[in-house]
Amino acid sequence: MSIEVISMLVLFGLFFALLMYGVPVAYSIGISTTASLLLNIDTLPGITTVAQRMTTGIDSFSLLAIPFFVLAGELMKRGGIANRLILFAKSLIGSLPGGLGYVNVLAAMLFGAVSGSAVAAASAIGSIMTEPMEDEGYPRPFSAAINIPSSTTGLLIPPSNVLIIYALASGGAASVAALFIAGYLPGLLMGLALILVVAITAIRTKLPKSKRSKFSEIFTHFRRSFFSLMLLVLVVGGIVAGIFTATEAAAIAVLYALILALVYKGITITDIPNILLASAKTTAIVMFLICTSMAMSWLFSFEGIPQAITSYMLNEFSNPIVIFLIINLTLLIVGTFMDMTPAILIFTPIFLPVVTELGMHPVHFGIMMVLNLCIGLCTPPVGTILFVGSGVANISVSDVVKPLFPFLIAMVIVLLMITYIPAISMWLPNLFGLN
């Protein structure tokens, strides 16, 4: 066997072994990368290169958007913004059969979009919605099953940290602005698909409806959540119009969310150090994963892995439809046990050359990949959102799996539509002339 094959076997074998044993993901990536690299080059230059890649890999102004969106999300989570969004959603669609189910989907989408975090959406919306839904006769596992997939839609609807990470991983092939605007329709489509599943269940099991809201009530709740929703317009509008960069927009979102949270009296000035520390911790988790993943993806290109996989796949399966299917299946499997950030950073450099060779736009691939990995966030054994969602509903993960199943099917159908109909992702960016 050649040294390249051996070092690849070491890389992947060691990585999965460490991962399964419970070594933190970032360290599993770092240790296997270092071990594999040292088979090829001398020790001191090797370890210096890893240290250098880890540092220069995060030396980027666009990555700064991540800590800011994390901080803005934390401020919104504590600032009473979730409750206002729920009341607004309820006044709009609460009066339909299964009304609170739709409210949960819509509120999780809105909060996921403004906060940019699926975990924040699942915990904030789930902890508020579970009790009232149970009072109206929704079984707890069912409301958790609605909340969990809905919370991930916010990862597609901008602003979204994972799309920024994808832009970085694509090496500039896809711009943040194009990805942001491309995410709207797929995000909405996924929300609609989830609402459809709620509707079918609601009609079959005769779920209750709330009383119809008067127009004046809708208007009141719209006014009360107006400034939270304006954040979306301000941030995304500013980026797409080219007024400020994603990072600057994120810093403005922090200022905006801080003022809202203080005005709504959700937090006081003395809470700020704690909020900063909590956000610094979340940031460090993501950023350190990026550090070691950047070292690993550098090793990939050093070894020529992306080219090898591209030529292998193009020779072996000539049909693009089959190749897209294989990539999707691989990502679905990866997504069930790997978190979204490392999965994007590791698999983008591997698969992006294949799909661009077949004519798929990098923006389209990014949307497909994020949506695909969203499914993994909701499935056992390692779905972050699955655990958060069942945690806030106070039920065990195994209870949620059965009611969750129809929602997962709906997500897979949406994934296939996104994969094979490029226009869903590309129509809006093309319309705005963004690539």
């Binding site: 044993y21 970032a26 770092g30 995060i58 700064l64 600057e248 900063l276 520390l277 956000s279």
Partner: protein, 162 residues
């Protein structure tokens, strides 16, 4: 040892909060100055990038002390208490070796080379070696936390505290 652990935590927490706060103010200043004064300062972007490196790598070291790094624990949770103690100790040893080899030795060599080449950042004229210094420093902190975590592994897992 517990005394040093707690003091170190407090110190890093304070440091992280200050860097993060400065980072927000710095970028807001960049946007503000561009729209109000019509020009932006050349150093804000560089300062922000360097603070992000410090925030990320020092923050990662701090997370080791809290054992809050993301990991796949579905096999770990099936282990018996005794096996969990062993697995925790092995994990911490692996982390310590990685930190020693890559972050302390590799990182120190990186700092040495960059200082030796005399690379300066364009706007702040800061030797880049100082920015990279956070890598070996954090490496040492991670090794300390690993030793601490090993020393308390027996007690904390059996007593079921994190």
């Amino acid at each position: 040892m517990r005394y040093i652990y707690l003091k170190l935590n407090k110190f890093i927490e304070l440091f992280l909060v200050i860097i993060f706060g400065l980072l927000v103010l710095d970028v807001l200043m960049q946007v503000g100055s561009r729209y109000i004064l019509g020009k932006s300062f050349s150093f804000t972007e560089e300062f922000a990038r360097f603070s992000l490196i410090w925030l990320s790598i020092l923050g990662a070291a701090y997370l080791n002390g809290q054992r809050e790094h993301l990991s796949m624990d579905f096999l770990y949770r099936k282990f018996s208490k005794e096996k969990q103690v062993t697995a925790t100790k092995i994990t911490e040893v692996l982390i310590a070796i990685f930190s020693l080899v890559v972050m302390v030795i590799g990182g120190f060599n990186l700092v040495y080379i960059t200082l030796h080449l005399g690379q300066l950042s364009p706007a702040l004229h800061l030797p880049l070696g100082y920015v990279y210094m956070i890598v070996p420093i954090s490496g040492l902190i991670i090794i300390f936390y690993a030793i601490y975590n090993i020393s308390i592994a027996n007690h904390s897992i059996k007593a079921n505290i994190k």
